[in-house]
Symmetry: C2
């Protein structure tokens, strides 16, 4: 039996998954929570924009998760470590971390281990919003082509914003850093035993989506542009990289040291790393016309368009990068800054409820009809990633009476995220990217039936669920299997590999025409609030918002 | 010892208070909760606008509360029932109830006792918002003078809206009704043994503020106008009243039957009834220049201006009625539709907390600085009474992040009600009514120190607290004492009676200049939202709201 290993770094934990290359069947799986901070995240109570992670948590989790998954696989008939033909890695991103000249994270040095700036700057860290705005401004003036493919807005969640911020607020950390590495490039480099940052194989997914890397302008932003930001960033450029690769290239092979730690033979090929959702899209069966939505703490939407076609720049979209998902295709990324995180905030943070309370809320919320609560929310508690690209936006709830319940607010928050999802689909369709099907993956998509039905009703399209609960890790395994190729027991193409190794869940959600009609009306009001508070348009008349919600409430309650 | 009895009908309970006429000192006091419905209110789960009350609860409470208060007073040296020189009554309003030709509430007849339309239509019932809008429209066209003194808007909380609504939705109840009586007129008529509705002495407070009664146009609205609403309302006019009285007139004297029930001598003079807050203003020492705010489930603001002066019509104010508070003065009434109710909704309804949880929230909220949460709310969960006069408006909360706490939201809701209070004061000052001092009364004013300090900081004025916890009942007793006059052991003028019988609490609240400055900035943003969602102006640009709140947050946190 040939098998492949996928490793998936999420926001709160890391998963390892061993799958059968013939069927995609799970042979072993393990999850390890990051031990540090609040659910694995290092926070600053004076700045809710800050979110860092400890690199030692990553290494701790890497070893334990893989060993546990392999131990489980070892019990399966036919499995043998010698049949493991490849390792794939996906992570959150943009989550860059500073390393020294030996490719060791600064944070592992006791000198820096307690310095928040020396940790990994987690994707959801929004401290660098001023830097992002400045990069957007400078690029618009001097290098408009740099940001044309990422919706004309550079984000505070991305590589250069974060590094520039570090340079400003923690110059000592910046000075001590040799290079900055995306987590998705760092983990493969660790497994491959890379001890020189210049030897790290960087992936086009992170480079193209977050670091303004493109062959069109010869790689990373040029020195002249970076000097406009800070001469020290221009100097850093030389210690970064000139090439970035898609999934046809290998990141190296398993080194002796990690082979020993993991109980595996050395030399197993390691795939180029990418972001979780990009490989999750592969594990969910992404192909042209199918939008894959990974619904987790935040949401990421992925679509692919054949690279032979001409593709328009799409305002407000996170990025369009050739090879970022499937080789030979443009990968299109969009997303919402918070989805599961908003529900978690409401249920655990405000209502102080546990898992049982969450189920009760879902039950109560499911009993209501769309529009019946008279509530409407904006899903911006963590800013808006797509289509407004503004990390400073905040949440809003309107329509409360003296009888509004926590379950009604919970439902309004789900609906808000569904409206945000619809805004993304409408935007990419408007620019010529067809969306004929939607496949959702992630725990929320599998477990929260109310949410999925609301998404189907709001989006107005049938929604499928990925067949694997670990679509990202499975996608990483698929990438590793294709990298190995048919001669080594894998596959030579992605469609072949996806056909054999991925499947859909038998459960799917079909829009109800009556609910969809109500949601069309609510979505119109949502867009009024969205445009007014998003500042996209000038003055939007909002005097009718509360009345329109009441009218809708009366109509649906009648 | 001469004593007086004040009876105060609140939203959830009735209180009786026996006081010493020489000092205002409390001799006996008792509260009886209304037994029916949800905390005394009959609700309809399909219509959150509906709020009714059972007249039998009123009678049940009247007897028990007075007997218990008298029993307590009986233990005090010098007290004797024969020294009781008067009875005053105040109630919520506009709370009209339908009675038959014998002045018996329809709801006491088993035939109607379960019919919600046959009950008392509690002040906070907002079911008749369409009727209110129609009355406003017709008056603006045909009788602009009718609504010039009530801010050019007739409210869904008021007499004619409610009766017209009853006629539309429950014509059988309307047909069976001989007359409609405000609760504040009904209770004195019960005590006086009035069995013919045409003999009820109606008070100018309810008549002038809620029923469009004015001597300027010969009493109630004329038949021709009422016919525009419905000919049946024009016919009802004949069974209502032609005269309405201020506190110089008596409503009758204690009848034999009720004297027996209460254990009092028959014949004690009963004062004209008025709304709770109007008499509460008297009990709090209202005089020209002093605004009295009664802070309870909702808030009512009262001011007086010498009737010898010319007074402008004030847009958005509930009413300006000569004699409604003190004889010889215009009474000005304004208010917020929900204050305590909003906190109750948040703490009990959403957070599902008890009294201890409420104290914890107050503690946590008190630890924060103004502006620090980045939150801003509109205080419209029960509509907006002053200055927008729109019962359909709903609540709004903006600025939530993933770290927003329930205590921060609680504080934002308090601040929202403070901003609403400031909007009222600014409006009446703008129209020439001086506000040189503010006196607050009610349980919230006495107990919630955080709220009072926020009010002082937001309003920017020192705030005093009424000396009596039962300012309304005390005010009713003061009115009864002045009605009795000095010859019977009372006083001949209100200033004399107020000087002897009312006092201020030693605790008062002074604005902090730093906090006031932050609140000035927050109030500016509040008004942006207020004007936009209140629909008073056309399109208001709101794109900066979330950013302005974040900037303020950063400034105050620095």
């Amino acid at each position: 039996m040939f098998s492949a290993l996928g490793v998936d770094y999420g926001t709160n934990s890391v998963r390892a998954l061993v799958v059968d290359c013939a069927t995609g069947a799970e042979l072993g799986s393990a999850v390890v929570d990051y031990p540090s901070g609040t659910q694995g995240i290092l926070l600053d109570k004076n700045d809710h924009h800050l979110a860092r992670q400890s690199p030692s948590d990553y290494l701790h989790g890497l070893e334990r998760a893989i060993r546990a998954a392999l131990a489980q696989a070892a019990g399966k008939p036919g499995f043998s470590p010698s049949g493991l033909i490849g390792i794939g890695v996906d992570t959150t991103g943009s989550s860059p971390l500073p390393v020294d000249a030996s490719n060791v994270p600064l944070a592992l040095d006791p000198k820096w281990s307690r310095n928040l700036a020396a940790q990994c700057w987690l994707w959801k860290d929004h401290t660098s919003y001023q830097e992002a705005a400045e990069i957007t401004k400078l690029a618009a003036k001097h290098r408009p082509e740099y940001i044309a493919k990422c919706g004309n807005t550079y984000s505070s969640e991305w590589f250069w914003s974060k590094i520039w911020r570090c340079l400003k607020v923690a110059p000592d950390v910046f000075d001590a850093t040799f290079s900055w590495v995306e987590l998705c490039d760092y983990i493969p480099s660790v497994l491959a035993g890379v001890t020189d940052p210049s030897q790290i194989k960087r992936g086009i997914c992170a480079a193209g989506h977050k670091a303004l890397f493109s062959d069109e302008w010869g790689g990373l932003p040029d020195r002249e542009f970076l000097e406009l930001l800070d001469p020290l960033l221009a100097a850093l450029r030389d210690r970064l990289y000139d090439e970035a690769h898609d999934a046809t290239v290998s990141a190296g092979s398993l080194c002796e040291a990690w082979a020993k730690k993991l109980g595996l033979p050395a030399g197993i090929p390691i795939a180029i790393g990418a972001f979780d959702v990009h490989f999750g899209a592969i594990g969910s069966g992404v192909k042209e016309g199918v939008l894959v939505k990974a619904i987790g703490t935040s949401t990421c939407d992925c679509a692919v368009v054949n690279a032979g076609k001409k593709i328009a720049d799409i305002p407000g979209i996170c990025g369009i990068v050739k090879g970022a998902i499937l080789p030979g295709f443009y990968g299109i990324e969009a997303g919402q800054s918070a989805v599961g995180d908003i529900f978690k905030w409401w249920v655990e943070g405000v209502c102080e409820g546990n898992a049982a309370a969450h189920r009760k809320l879902e039950e109560d919320a499911a009993a209501a009809k769309p529009g019946q609560s008279g509530l409407l929310a904006l899903d911006w508690n963590n800013g808006n990633r797509t289509i407004l690209v503004d990390p400073l936006l905040t949440g809003l709830l309107v329509g409360q009476t003296l009888y509004t319940t926590r379950a009604e607010i919970y439902r309004a928050l789900i609906e808000a995220t569904a409206f945000g999802a619809r805004a993304i689909i409408e935007r990419i369709e408007q620019y010529g990217v067809p969306v004929t099907g939607v496949v959702c993956c992630g725990g929320i998509a599998e477990k929260n039936k109310l949410l999925m039905q609301i998404y189907a009703d709001v989006i107005g399209s049938r929604i499928e669920i990925a067949g694997s609960s670990q679509a990202c890790a499975l996608g990483s395994a698929v990438v590793a299997t294709v990298l190995a190729g048919s001669k080594k027991g894998g596959y030579d193409t992605f469609p072949e590999a996806q056909a054999r190794m991925t499947k859909l869940n038998p459960v799917s959600y079909t829009p109800d025409p009556v609910r969809k009609k109500t949601y069309d009306e609510l979505y119109r009001i949502y867009r009024q609030l969205h445009d007014a508070f998003g500042g996209q348009t000038g003055a939007v008349p909002l005097g009718s918002v509360m009345k329109d919600l009441i009218q809708l409430k009366q109509k649906v309650s009648a």
